[in-house]
Symmetry: C2
Subunit: 247 residues, 2 copies
Amino acid sequence: MQRYFVQPDAIADGRVTITGDDVKHIVRVMRMEAGEEVIVCDGLGRAFRVELTDLGDSSVEANIVEELAQSPEPAVKITLAQGLPKGDKMELIVQKGTEVGIARFLPVDMARCVVQYDAKKEAKRRERWQKIAKEAAEQAHRNLIPSIGEPMSFKQVMSSLDGFDLVVVPYEGEKARSLREVLADAPDARHICVLIGPEGGIADAEIETALSKGALPVTLGPRILRTETAGLVAATCIYYHYGEMGG
Amino acid sequence: MQRYFVQPDAIADGRVTITGDDVKHIVRVMRMEAGEEVIVCDGLGRAFRVELTDLGDSSVEANIVEELAQSPEPAVKITLAQGLPKGDKMELIVQKGTEVGIARFLPVDMARCVVQYDAKKEAKRRERWQKIAKEAAEQAHRNLIPSIGEPMSFKQVMSSLDGFDLVVVPYEGEKARSLREVLADAPDARHICVLIGPEGGIADAEIETALSKGALPVTLGPRILRTETAGLVAATCIYYHYGEMGG
């Protein structure tokens, strides 16, 4: 069934109001009519099966039939702190990471980032990443739209690690400590941060700082993954480990 | 250390001859000189540390210093049979799949493929995919260049499954059987085929045929992955399961 995200306050008294681009999608693309059903998510984790009642040009109204109990959201919440990559690679990272289940993306300005940080441009790009996350979440049948944080400095990320049960750093220089080892030692971890360096990797000084903050460098094996692949692969391993990939 | 693939017959009597685009890369891009070392792979799984001796415009000669014993190649060989996707998605699939360790790609013409199969065009595209595989294998520090099979029909794939210890089919319609369950039942599997449908998914009749050939539909969990993501994610789970992601 087709799935749409609405603002939480668009759901009230058993009714839902859908606005924005989704109206066009429902009316023009899907050519749906009153009486047909879709799934509406509040983007915070709740999902409802609803029956369309009024289809207009600028809004669609619907009645809630039932709240869906089973959530497709993983119990383990992963935040991907991603060293800002070149070009439009961050779009791929957000899209694929959203599909697999990542809860939050933090673009990080790191020592070896090639891109010059530009606050004005970043606001535009961040808007675009958020849109990609919404579309990917709809297509992946998720109940939650991953949030995209404001780009922050490595230092800022390092001072905000307290909330995580585990911070792992896939790192080419780490030859011994495996991701499996680290996860096996943390069977109850619920909030995990994965830190990925940009194309040039993580600088030695950054690894030192991360270590001092309790982050754990890990190897993902002998095959070297590109920056836009590493976070997706690490998240997939983590979800698989905790039984979040269907068992 | 920089890594280059050569034809197996370019390695003989303790010497290696590098030709083609890699010459330009060594001489012009990397500006290397005689006495410097690179790694040369024969693309079939062997790798050598070599010392450059003669750098010319059309070829580079080198002496073998030692054969590298440790292989980055997974012991579990995965073949990705991929329903031909739209546009240039197959390029992404080959690049990312090569990074993570896939051994072989088989483009498959399936019932719900949107692209019209065109033998002439396919030859060109296959050449391009093979080039992408080579470059990704070099960057990932692999010893083997994954092979790209000729596009084949679903029927042809179904009649060539005998060589596999396990054939898994990630499938939206499968709600019960998990990938983990299937892998746990096959601790000694060494050749695994992963079959992924195109954008529109796998047709019911195709699932029936696959089942009758011993393939196992599995769920990858409640989040629906796009066709270009599913193979990479399934392969990552399989490698993680068998300890091929660094432990």
